[in-house]
């Protein structure tokens, strides 16, 4: 599908020219710069991985997008991470090496199969990638996924650059099969989204391992699970021994006045600051952690410092071993680390710099010009609705000037929460409260909340913002779009029929570019004395197949400078010298602003020949 004409790829909100699709497919064994996520995908490919199922989530998305470029791998977007992990488990059970990828909060969704597939173990190797987002570049929390490895008793590898992401992905399958366990590879934003040098090899084709019926191993009912638990404890003991002397952990002796135990991207910052001026224990396997290796390292240095982002996982392990270490007493639990932060906290020199000493205007992310969500949020704001929101581009509805969202928790929570909100307040909230959720998020975990509304009957109004794509993560297909990850035609779930089948009698479809229609329908559905679903349907303006209208123009003599159009927060409209100005390079001619102008100042543009 990656023809010459399709090299204009869309990536996370903007176009750029790319040959990446072609590069990936060329089986050249040449040193190249590779994104951490792409390197991980290359490792999967070479290890003979046959099935990949994931749900997109920054910063993990590209692993699966890159894997999908290999014809040898069956690859799909699942509706959510739990489904993805269970699909990968099924493939492993059947005897084919499998993979699922997700962001940190996605692992919460998949935690249920995670904890129990630790008990069953695997047939063919099964690898799970979880990508954390310290610094919350694109996430709602900053949780540390390493806790999951410890609590689910599943080995976890933590690469520190693309080369390791590639090598660890290959090794993870071997580890998985050798120890009969799923293996987690933990990425972070800086490893996932940095490019460093990788020298790819060839794919190792693998025959499927035979599937054998084994009720005691794979049917996790109490009697069998009781039998499996000691197996898992024994496996962890063996893995701990393995960690003492494995290829993932290494000691780099330097100056012995300071010994630093570190992993992931923190290792790179430590090397940047100290080079040979410190001894380093670099841990690539973060669960289980070694004991003797750490004690031996500690005995060779004068003091031990632990450098790890987020929670003190390594630090607590060291303290449990009886070591006196420095860690979170100096370094923060919050946010990302960097070379300067580590240098400053550990008393090393930090470069000086010049400062303008002036508060510059910020440049926050905004809804794109022509974004279909804008019109809908304008109406919700105008009607002073209480809006319970969800996860996606439309979370930007919370930003000024629209400021039309009051709650965002996690995937699907808008629908479940409005049910609780309305059960708590009844008629006081029912007529003015709405839940808004995107099409992909609805398929992910909105459906179950909607089933609760249908079943337990709260008088709730749910708005599905159907922009026909998973937008925020950079345009991935989902079960409502009719296309699969490769862009080929696929099953398409019809939202209207789905809602009706659940028992909703009131299901309305509106076009968010038509403000009057939106306002009328939202008003009617809020007034109705029964639950209802409104589908606000218009494809994302950045989709390639969406045809843009000519940019609007301003008829200056009509413009009174009243700034009505500015209430939309459209990046294509500004006021210069008291008059509205349209940026013709941004405007896609959606004409939503035109509907707010009382003076006929905003005119449809001429279509150029």
């Amino acid at each position: 599908m990656y023809s010459e004409e399709q090299v204009m790829e869309f990536d996370a909100g903007y176009l750029f020219l790319s040959y990446q699709a072609k590069e990936t497919r060329k089986d050249i064994h040449m040193k190249q710069l590779m994104l951490g996520n792409k390197a991980l995908a290359r490792g999967l490919y070479e290890a003979g991985c046959g099935v990949v199922s994931s749900y997109p989530g920054t910063p993990s998305t590209e692993v699966t997008e890159e894997a999908a470029k290999y014809e040898e791998i069956y690859c799909e977007w699942a509706p959510n991470e739990k489904v993805a992990m269970e699909t990968a488990f099924g493939a492993s059970l059947a005897g084919v090496r499998s993979f699922c990828g997700m962001k940190h909060v996605g692992l919460n969704v998949a935690a249920d199969p995670l904890f129990t597939c630790s008990y069953t173990g695997v047939n063919a190797g099964m690898v799970i990638c979880v990508a954390d987002d310290a610094g919350m570049h694109s996430s709602q929390n900053e949780q540390d996924s390493r806790h999951y490895a410890k609590s689910a008793k599943i080995p976890m590898l933590e690469p520190s650059d693309s080369g390791e992401a590639y090598a660890f992905a290959k090794a993870a399958f071997e580890l998985s099969e050798e120890f009969d366990t799923p293996v987690i590879i933990k990425m972070c934003t800086r490893v996932a989204h940095s490019q460093s040098i990788v020298e790819p090899g060839s794919r190792e084709e693998r025959e499927p391992k035979p599937y054998e019926k084994n009720i005691a191993k794979y049917v996790m009912m109490p009697a069998n699970a009781i039998g499996r638990h000691p197996v898992i404890e024994e496996r962890t003991r063996k893995l701990t021994e393995y960690a003492e002397n494995c290829r993932f952990n290494r000691v780099e002796m330097g100056d012995t006045r300071i010994g630093i135990i570190t992993s992931s991207t923190s290792y790179q910052y430590v090397k940047e600051v100290f080079g040979e001026n410190a001894s380093i224990l670099k841990l690539g396997m973060i669960y289980p952690l070694p004991k003797k290796l750490i004690l031996d390292f500690a005995s060779r240095v004068e003091k031990v410092v632990i450098v790890e982002e987020l929670d003190p996982i390594i630090e607590e392990h060291c303290k449990a071993l009886g070591l006196t270490v420095t860690g979170k007493d100096l370094l923060p639990m919050e946010g990302e680390y960097s070379q300067n932060l580590i240098a400053q906290k550990l008393g090393e020199k930090v470069p000086s710099y010049k400062s303008l000493g002036e508060n510059l205007p910020g440049r926050p992310p905004v809804m794109c010009a022509g974004c279909p969500h804008r019109g809908l949020f304008y109406i919700l704001s105008k009607k002073k609705c209480t809006v319970l929101g969800d996860i996606g581009c439309y979370t930007l509805g919370a930003v000024a000037p629209l400021s039309a969202m009051e709650m965002t928790l996690c995937m699907g929570a808008s629908i479940s929460s409005i049910h609780g909100f309305n059960k708590a307040l009844g008629e006081k909230s029912e007529g003015k409260t709405v839940a808004v959720i995107g099409d992909s998020t609805f398929m992910h975990s909105g459906m179950t909340g909607l089933a609760n509304i249908a079943y337990n009957q709260s008088n709730s109004t749910v708005i599905i913002l159907d922009n026909s794509i998973t937008g925020m993560t950079g345009h991935q297909q989902n079960p409502t779009t009719g296309y699969n990850i490769k862009g080929d035609p696929a099953g398409k779930i019809d939202l209207e029929s789905l809602c009706r089948a659940m028992g909703f009698r009131r299901v309305k479809v509106v076009d968010p570019y038509h403000l009057d229609e939106c306002e009328r329908v939202i008003g009617e559905e809020l007034e109705a004395k029964e639950p209802s679903v409104i589908i606000s349907r218009r494809p994302c303006a950045l989709l390639k197949y969406v045809k843009h209208e000519a940019p609007l123009t301003v008829k200056e003599e009509n413009c009174k400078g009243c700034k009505s159009c500015m209430r939309l927060g459209c990046p294509a409209i500004s006021i210069k010298n008291g008059k509205a100005v349209i940026d013709s390079t941004l405007c896609v001619g959606c004409k939503v602003c035109q509907q707010l102008c009382n003076f006929d100042a905003l005119q449809a543009g001429e279509v150029s020949a």
């Binding site: 750029f16 040959y19 470069p351 440049r363």
Partner: protein
């Protein structure tokens, strides 16, 4: 010694191709290279930053305050925003284009004035260039990135043919000529 190039701009301006081009070139020149960017929220018209680091062996994927040898900015305000990342003696190469951020669009604040002279008053060397006009002359407003790369290329001891070869290898064939033209107009010789 690791060298640092920070590429900053506004989501949608084409900084990914710029970092891809320069990363590809430096790799073929035999350097260890790391390129780091953040995807996600920052790209909805927000401020975007890409780090390019090269040398014998590069560790950290990011550039910290006081470390950048070059700040290559697609937009004036963004150059000013990241000025603290510039190393003592470093250089700013900036497209003089102004793109209003939302607080300016809504009229909450105005676009700051005299940013270039303010930076120069700090003793910083600023190479300012109107990339948009040159890109449009070359055939597309989208070639701003190549104009800027052309300007940056003047400060590297790498023959122009090798930059051109990198363009051929990073850009789809039908856009190569236009991009080369934009590159050379930015290079100015």
């Amino acid at each position: 010694m690791t060298k640092n190039i920070m590429i900053v701009g506004v989501g949608g301006q084409g900084s990914l191709l710029a970092s891809k081009l320069i990363g590809h070139l430096l790799l073929s020149e035999g350097f260890d290279v790391k390129v780091s960017e953040v995807h996600g929220m920052s790209q909805r018209g927000g401020s975007v930053v890409t780090y390019v680091r090269y040398g014998e062996q590069v560790y950290s994927p990011i550039i910290d305050k006081g470390e950048a040898d070059f700040i290559v900015s697609f937009e004036k305000l963004e150059a000013a925003r990241y000025v603290e990342y510039l190393k003592e003696g470093g250089r700013i190469v900036v497209n003089t284009q102004e793109i209003d951020p939302m607080p300016v669009i809504t009229g909450a604040v105005s676009y700051p004035k005299d940013l270039i002279s303010k930076m120069e008053n700090l003793g910083i060397t600023v190479d300012a260039i109107d990339c948009l006009s040159l890109a449009e002359e070359a055939g597309s407003a989208k070639a701003v990135n190549l104009v800027l790369m052309g300007r940056l290329s003047n400060y590297f001891d790498i023959p122009v043919e090798r930059w051109e070869k990198a363009i051929e290898e990073c850009v789809p064939p039908k856009f190569v000529e236009m991009n080369k033209k934009a590159f050379l107009s930015g290079r100015g010789k």
